[in-house]
């Protein structure tokens, strides 16, 4: 082998070996996720067959079970009913059950959406304001303030959950959308400030100074000149805040019960007869993970930059 080749130009042979190992790793690491998606399209019986079935007859039973509440009935009672009106009723009847109503899943899912988008908007907006000020103005104790903002991320959620629980109970914010939006906004705020400050630092000061010489006030220059310039950074930061709020579990399970509970604490509670209903859990997991996976793949460039950001900028 040519020993003069360096890290700058790896030989095509070593590239091939590297690519092979990486592809094998990628396939292995994706198996658990693919398996869950596959399970969501199985019926209850093929989900618990052993050896595990790789080829199976697709079924939407998991999705039907996820979205409905059902009760078991005697064959006599089922015979006395009028024929099923649609395919999903038919499917449920074939399991000797009837649909008693919609499940809570869609409500939990929309809570996740409302709280996710609400808190993402708030933390990115407030974070952008603070980041701009830290980037442009002489702020007293700037470094201490920035470190203080970062250090709030080190608190274990459970350490502050009890006081927040008590405080929210007094303020009437317990189990409300507003309460959870405020909480997630604050948790994300430190990250938003740090990430956005990096992006703001990259925008030349001359842009807004030119605008201000043309008669813009500082505020106008910020909203009309700086914000549009920082759009890439804002998008990257927003994805991170959204993913955090979407995935958060500890606060959601401790501080909400009925009204404002998001999907992560709900999915584990989808229990069928005689244990867990794996296709339904698979369906819930798939619907829940889908937006994040699509986001990750579409916005990968922003995302990867955001993750490595702190490290690269020191």
């Amino acid at each position: 082998m040519d020993t003069s080749r360096s890290y700058l130009e790896p030989s095509s042979f070593s590239k091939k070996i590297a690519a092979t190992i990486i592809i094998v790793y990628t396939v292995i690491t994706l198996i658990p996720i693919s398996w869950m998606v596959m399970t969501s399209f199985k019926n209850v019986n093929s989900a618990i067959s052993y050896p595990p079935e790789v080829l199976f007859e697709p079924s939407l039973e998991g999705y039907v079970n996820l979205l409905t509440n059902r009760s078991r009935q005697s064959p006599e009672y089922l015979d006395s009913l009028p024929p099923p009106e649609n395919w999903y009723e038919e499917l449920v009847r074939s399991r000797e059950m009837v649909i008693t109503g919609p499940s809570k899943f869609l409500g939990r899912y929309s809570n996740s959406m409302i709280i996710g988008f609400g808190s993402t908007f708030a933390s990115v907006f407030l974070g952008a304001l603070a980041a701009y000020a830290f980037s442009r103005f002489r702020v007293p104790l700037k470094d201490d303030l920035l470190f203080f903002i970062l250090s709030t991320r080190m608190f274990p959620p459970i350490a502050v959950a009890v006081p927040i629980f008590i405080m929210y109970r007094k303020l009437g914010l317990g189990d409300t959308h507003l309460g959870m939006i405020i909480l997630y906004t604050v948790v994300n705020l430190s990250l938003a400030v740090w990430l956005l400050k990096g992006f703001m630092d990259e925008i030349p000061k001359e842009y807004e100074e030119a605008a201000m010489i043309d008669g813009y006030s500082r505020l106008q220059a910020f909203f009309k000149v700086v914000l549009p310039q920082a759009m890439t950074g804002i998008a990257a930061t927003a994805i991170f805040c959204m993913i955090f709020s979407w995935n958060e579990y500890a606060f959601a399970v401790l501080l909400t019960q009925f009204n404002a509970q998001t999907a992560p604490p709900f999915i584990p509670t989808i229990i069928g007869e005689g244990g867990l209903d794996w296709p339904a859990i698979g369906a819930g997991t798939t619907l829940f993970l889908l937006p994040v996976m699509i986001f990750t793949i579409i916005l990968r460039k922003h995302l990867l930059r955001g993750i490595t950001f702190g490290a690269v900028r020191k």
Binding site: T3, S6, Y7, L8, P10, S14, K16, A18, A19, I22, T26, T29, L30, P32, T39, Y50, P52, L126, L129, A130, Y132, A133, F137, L145, F148, I149, T152, M154, F155, P156, I158, A159, V160, V162, P163, I164, M167, I182, V186, L189, V193, M212, I213, S217, R218, W246, N247, Y249, P264, P265, I267, G282, T285, F288, M293, F295, T296, R300, L303, L304
Partner: protein, 299 residues
């Protein structure tokens, strides 16, 4: 200064406070106030579920009780060994993957994105679906393991010997991409002229790796491990859904125990003291770690 007054609208100082104010106020209200409150409560025998009862000041009693409790040290040990194995595995595999990805072969950006997917998922939901993969009767994980070597029936979650490994495997699967990405950023920041100079000096590939690549990627690896260490010390969601601390207390990490004391037994005073101890521990270790890290960087 006189030049700046020519611009219309609020002064820069006013805009500065207007912009930073809301962030600082929110952090004070939702982060610092609860922390101070928790510290205050840690010196009392407060129970958050007994609303009428006035908490009494008990001094350091809660702290003494915790530090003398055998069970607490067991939880700390469980946490420490979870952290040790996850960080070790993630460091080795993450750095290895980063070195391979740095060869810039075709399609490596797409593969990077696919490898990163697990860390974007909700840890609680990941915990739930791994209980299915680990199922002793029908689990895919058990099937694959038995396919390569027939161990017969085994229960990753139900056995107190295997359960700690079950959470290490899931955490490593989920978070190795994080170490990998940070290391990759480190590898890409190494200036090319270092390798060019090394080649002029006829350094072998191995020497280039030991004297250039490794020292430059090390600070990045250590930083990634710091982040993961803080996160895994606080680890709660994935483990709660996967093993809920069991069997017995084989996987009961400190934060799971904290949740039980605080939200199941409602011993607010006692659990606040425990929270403060955990918090001081993270800060203490974090600080020492950062100092060591900076020393390594200076070299």
């Amino acid at each position: 200064m006189s030049e700046k007054k020519k611009f219309k609208g609020l002064s820069d100082k006013a805009v500065g406070w207007l912009f930073i104010g809301p962030t600082v106020l929110l952090l004070l209200a939702i982060n610092i106030y609860p922390l101070v409150y928790a510290i205050k409560m840690s010196f009392t025998n407060f129970y958050a579920n007994k609303i009428g009862r006035v908490p009494e000041f008990v001094g350091l009693k809660n702290y003494i009780k915790i530090l003398n409790k055998e069970a607490i040290w067991e939880k700390m040990q469980v946490t420490a060994s979870f952290m040790f194995w996850t960080l070790l595995l993630q460091a080795i595999i993450g750095l290895g993957l980063a070195l391979l990805l740095n060869r810039k072969f075709k399609g490596n950006e797409l593969l990077t994105t696919l490898i990163v997917l697990p860390m974007m998922l909700s840890p609680a939901v990941v915990g739930v679906f791994w209980t299915y993969l680990y199922n002793p009767q029908v689990g895919l994980f058990n099937y694959v393991v038995n396919f390569f070597y027939d161990f017969g029936s085994f229960d990753m979650i139900g056995s107190s010997i295997l359960a700690p490994w079950s959470i290490v495997i899931v955490d490593t699967w989920m978070w190795t991409p994080f170490t990998m990405l940070i290391c990759l950023a480190g590898l890409r920041s190494v200036p090319n002229y270092l390798y060019e100079a090394a080649e002029v000096d006829r350094a072998s590939k191995w020497q280039q790796f030991i004297y250039i690549t490794l020292p430059s990627v090390l600070p990045f690896l250590l930083l990634a491990l710091l982040f993961r260490g803080i996160e895994n010390f606080k680890m709660f969601d994935m483990v709660v859904e996967l093993t809920s601390g069991g069997p017995g207390s084989a996987t009961e990490l400190a934060s799971i125990n904290l949740k039980r004391e605080a939200f199941e037994k409602w011993k607010t005073g006692y659990s606040s003291a425990f929270a403060v101890i955990l918090f001081v521990t993270i800060f203490g270790f974090g600080n020492v770690y950062v100092k060591v890290m900076n020393k390594i960087k200076e070299r």
